[in-house]
Amino acid sequence: MDKDKVAIVGCAQTKYEEDKIDLTVSELVFEVVHQLHEDLGITNDDVGCVITSSNDFNDGRTIANMAIQDAVGSVRKSESRVSGDGAFAYVYGAMRILSESYDTVLVVSHCKCSEVNQYLVNNSIFDPFYQRHLGLDQVSSAGLMANMYMQKYGISEEQAAKIAVKNRKYARDNPYAHLQKEISIEDVLNSKMMAYPLKELDLPPFSDGAVAMLLTNEAKAKEFTDTPVWLKGYGSCTDAYYLGHRNMTDLVGLELAAKEAYKMANIQNPLKEIDIFEVYDAFSFHELMIYESLGLCKKGEGGKFIDDHFESNLPINKSGGVLSSNPTMANGLIRVAEVATQLMGKAGKRQVNNAKIGLAHGMNGICSQGNCVLIFGGE
């Protein structure tokens, strides 16, 4: 892939909340599209095409993107929908720029978790022959994964709790975050057991929200902003489907996706060379596993890593991560937006100083089955 050919020139996010009951999905999406237009001083004529991300089961609508056509301005334009995590919609948008088919692409992702029972929606991801009737969902399968990881490498619940504490603390500086109250390690350890070893505060909330960004090609980037954010590297990898086929203690798919992205972006030592990470922390232990798969520490040493770095202001999930805001389908695109915001120097109180290179991680399916790793640079 040619580097520095696709730029993010602006992003807009909603405040993530438990229940945006007064907004239809169309109004929710319009909020971020309108904000983006205002911020960039553009009209709908400046947008070449639109890529959206949404999920039918979550929205209770087949062709869920049909509900937001008016809001994204797709009249007489091309609009296509990735039925998956928003990070993959970013990738498709970038491809449309790289194929030299469009100069500008609007990418939007939305999710209203408040409209349906999230456990039922998630249970329907499992096949109806072997797994669905077990009642598996995102919580029970995460519990399985966390427990196996914990047992194999001797990770403690306390070490995992540190992730929740870190992310919730960072969220206080993120005006968009859903949960903005700090918690302590004791709070996490004492919270209600959901699926051993995961307790309520090891798990994310369910949120409503949307995020939008404008992508441009190299030629147009400077028209819109002095601080374009360039795509430097990309990798995508899907692990096995059945939980029994999966490596449940090491995120194989993520590791391979990251390796691809690092190679493309010419990164040898990610911890040293990457200034800001936004990863998809679906549960507390998960972030420790992610550290290992991204190569930030050795296999099995995720717990040790957080112990060593707990006090040192890690530039990982400065937004508060998924543990603080979880509009499920939009999470990957939010990670991209947060990295872009950091690299543009617009992250306010949560800004990492002098952030030049960032990594965003998007995820599809159960327990990191599908992974997308994106590396961005501000120069």
Binding site: M1, D56, G84, I97, S99, S236, T238, A240, Y241, Q369
Partner: protein, 388 residues
């Protein structure tokens, strides 16, 4: 101009049937995947990325690509992404595959569309595409709006039910030459269509497409890889999509404005000035017989209102200047997630001169169309040579 020239190098289709009770979903999809890989003489390891899609609600499987992409396709440890847009799913996937390769990010991509409609309820699923407050109470699946459109089209231009019936006769007899088609009726007559029950005025049963089960797979490659695979690919010349309002009823429904918008752009890109002469074959997405007449006008094959005349004059018959739907079209085969992709597969088959009994002679350029959602159109123009 595109960054990388992109071509279709392998095609796979299952024989479409109303019920494939003999296979489960991954097994069914695998048939098309195996066929495409064999066709291109590639191994699973040669594929860089998988794009696979259907409508989740129709089979009741959320994130179906996570299962089917691994069990039915070589997606393990590879990128697997689902693009799903309703009736246009197949063409959206086909277009996404194009961008995957033309962008230079992947060299060889496998694109799969599928549907096992009878495992869920297609009409029930389709109704959920519409607004729960304003549209669902009265909406009757996809056939309801299509019936309204047919009635408005007929009233506006004086098109008769016999003219519409001719489309079914053309397409389902064409389908007899297509080994993959679902409904193959070599001896079908206008009487057969006209004597079928009116299921939603003015649509008769045989004015409407069936519900089929099956899968379609395409393998794409860039120009460097094409050389290693085949000397008979089908090159992408233009790719265009046009969408409209959320509510399909916001604008008049007697024609298809998005087809006009998309075709103007696509023809310009591909250097097509007169579709009847510059295109050699068209695979268009006609959910009802009336739609084909209307869509031929919207695509610029003739003036508005003259779709019936175009067919009466034989221009869109197999022997005409611009044969439409030699495969039998959607009226013969309709596995929703794959339907629009079958149009692309058939257009490519024609370009590659592999249509056998359904081959149109001397095909240099072909048009493939997808339709769905709130009256959206997607178009692809394929050619025998790369576009320069």
């Amino acid at each position: 101009m595109t960054k990388h020239q992109t071509a279709i190098v392998g095609i796979g289709q299952t024989k479409f049937r109303s019920k494939r009770r003999d296979v489960n979903i991954p097994e069914m999809i695998y048939e098309a995947v195996r066929m495409a890989l064999d066709d291109a003489q590639l191994e699973p390891k040669d594929i860089d990325a998988i794009l696979i899609g259907n409508m989740d609600h129709f089979e009741g499987i959320n994130f179906s690509e996570m299962w089917t992409g691994i069990d039915a396709a070589p997606g393990y440890l590879k990128p697997v992404v689902k693009v799903a847009t309703g009736g246009t799913t197949g063409s959206s996937l086909a277009i996404c595959g194009y961008h995957n390769v033309a962008s230079g990010i992947y060299d060889k991509v496998l694109v799969i569309g599928w549907e096992k409609l009878n495992e869920g309820g297609a009409t029930t699923g389709i109704i959920t595409a519409f607004d729960p407050v304003w549209e669902r109470p009265s909406l009757a699946g996809a056939l309801g709006p299509l019936a309204l459109m047919a009635g408005m089209y007929s009233a506006k231009y004086g098109i008769t039910p016999e003219q519409a019936a001719k489309v079914t006769v053309k397409n389902r007899s064409n389908a007899a030459n297509n080994p993959f088609a679902h409904l193959q009726m070599p001896d079908i007559t206008i009487d057969y269509v006209m004597s079928s029950q009116v299921i939603s005025y003015p649509l008769r049963l045989h004015d409407c497409c069936p519900q089929s089960e099956g899968a379609c797979a395409l393998i794409y490659a860039n120009e460097t890889e094409v050389k290693k695979i085949t000397d008979n690919p089908a090159w992408f010349h233009a790719v265009e999509t046009a969408h409209y309002y959320t509510f399909g009823t916001d604008d008049k429904m007697y024609d298809l404005p998005t087809a006009t918008i998309a075709s103007k752009k696509a023809y310009k890109k591909a250097g097509i000035k007169d579709p009847i002469n510059d295109l050699d074959v068209a695979e268009i997405y006609e959910p009802t017989s009336w739609s084909e007449l209307s869509w031929t006008e919207a695509l610029g094959f003739c003036k508005p209102g003259e779709g019936g005349k175009l067919l009466d004059e034989g221009i869109t018959q197999m022997s005409g200047e611009l044969p439409v739907n030699p495969s039998g079209g959607v009226l013969s085969t309709n596995p929703i997630g794959a339907t629009a992709m079958v149009r692309v597969a058939e257009a490519a088959t024609q370009i590659m001169d592999r249509g056998e009994k359904r081959q149109v002679p001397d095909v240099e350029r072909a048009l493939a169309m997808g339709f769905g959602g709130s009256l959206w159109t997607e178009l692809m123009i394929l050619g025998k040579e790369p576009m320069r």
